[in-house]
Symmetry: C2
Subunit: 244 residues, 2 copies
């Protein structure tokens, strides 16, 4: 892969940046040791570069160690729907353990560092280690539920509600993984990412964001999101179904 820059001298897992987070945080120690045994090394991918392209066959799956990425579907005439944003600790491409090709693509949103596994070896490991497989099923169920909720967002919420709900959910996710400083979190998304994630246009996203800023609920710089009034944001979102 042109855009993936493999480094076959794995750094020690002891210093892994996502140890104890997301999926890994839930695994038993002996399972973690097994996982570290089949690790293939790290890989870097530059901002904006493709990580996976719709329909590719590939034997590798990744854990995102650092940076952000996103999964998206490209429709005829160029419309794009962003399906989800991937944060450090998230698995990517794991459905490749079960099927040859995927109908979506993945792109690096920032410079990204990945931990590489063979999908076959990972599948074998899951077969040997039922508790790990269970953990995996759990992660999978959570992802499905996240998609369910986003489906309700796109189908039945207004632009303002969607935006509030989205900002809130990404804020919570980042906080849970320890990326918050006070009430602010890193936020590398551009307008068109928000637009393509929320099913809106970039112009309309500007207006919606402007309204939220005017109300003093959030502020947004080039690199960070600050949530001044979490409760109000939840109210605007007409909150209710959340992933936990």
């Amino acid at each position: 892969m042109a855009s993936l820059n493999s480094n076959h001298v794995p750094e020690p897992c002891a210093s892994c940046p996502v140890k104890g987070h997301a999926f890994y945080g839930l695994c038993r120690d002996d399972d973690l040791i097994e996982i570290s045994r089949i690790r293939k090394g790290n890989s870097l991918c530059l901002k904006g570069r493709p990580i996976y392209r719709e329909g590719d066959t590939r034997d590798e799956i990744y854990v995102l160690l650092d940076g952000w990425a996103f999964r998206y579907i490209l429709l005829p005439n160029g419309r794009r729907q962003i399906l989800s944003f991937l944060l450090p600790g998230d698995f990517m491409l794991f459905p490749l353990m079960f099927r040859k090709r995927l109908p979506y693509s993945i792109q690096a949103l920032t410079n990204v560092s990945l931990c590489i596994f063979s999908s076959g070896e990972m599948a074998d490991l899951l077969a040997k280690r039922p508790p790990l497989a269970h953990q995996f099923g759990s992660a999978c169920a959570n992802e499905t539920i996240g998609l369910d909720i986003r489906l309700a967002d796109l189908g039945r919420r207004t632009a303002d509600e969607r935006m509030a709900h989205f900002l809130l959910s990404i804020y919570e996710r980042l906080k849970k993984r320890g990326y918050a400083i006070g009430d602010s979190v890193p936020f590398p998304l551009r307008l068109h990412h928000l637009a393509d994630a929320l099913g809106l246009t970039a112009t309309h996203v500007t207006r919606v964001l402007a309204a939220l800023k005017r109300q003093g609920v959030i502020s947004l710089s080039q690199t960070r999101l600050t949530v001044h009034d979490e409760g109000e944001l939840a109210t605007i979102a007409m909150a209710s179904p959340s992933a936990e």
Copy 2:
């Protein structure tokens, strides 16, 4: 459960109506035998009745044997988003193997017959039978991908495209499971189901359907959908990403 009418004299799995379909069609014979051993019996649920209500804890999971059901999320102020329609052979509530509560509800669309399992016992069986667990992971991956595609529908397709895409996908699903007679399939959905699945209003669904009928692409009776021109339907849908 008031609305579930349990019958604890299991009928023989040999005559199971969904044997060889959907999930079961992919399982090894010895796994099927194990599954039949932990089967708890059947249950009936009348049209329109709830099968699961958001937030309930329950130890049972089901396989839909006959009839249709749907998963949905109810938002504050009563807006409803239908997440998916469940057809005979589909698992329901399996995420309960991994978490206590689910953020969506399930309702019987027609009279429905269910095959009951204990979620705990099913989880144990998966732990004992890695090939079965793999099969399960595969089904789970497929469901996720179906949601991905629907997300792109709601976010980035027009009403006409969504409708065409939806009709096409349900038509294919039913055909694959042997429910087609010629180019027609059973279709118990009412306007408001279509509306809530597609993120539209019932009035607008009428108009969109009227256009499709006028073009001679489909016809629709109270109980059946006929697809006269599958290619044209795919064109209107701006097809592209499909589940296989």
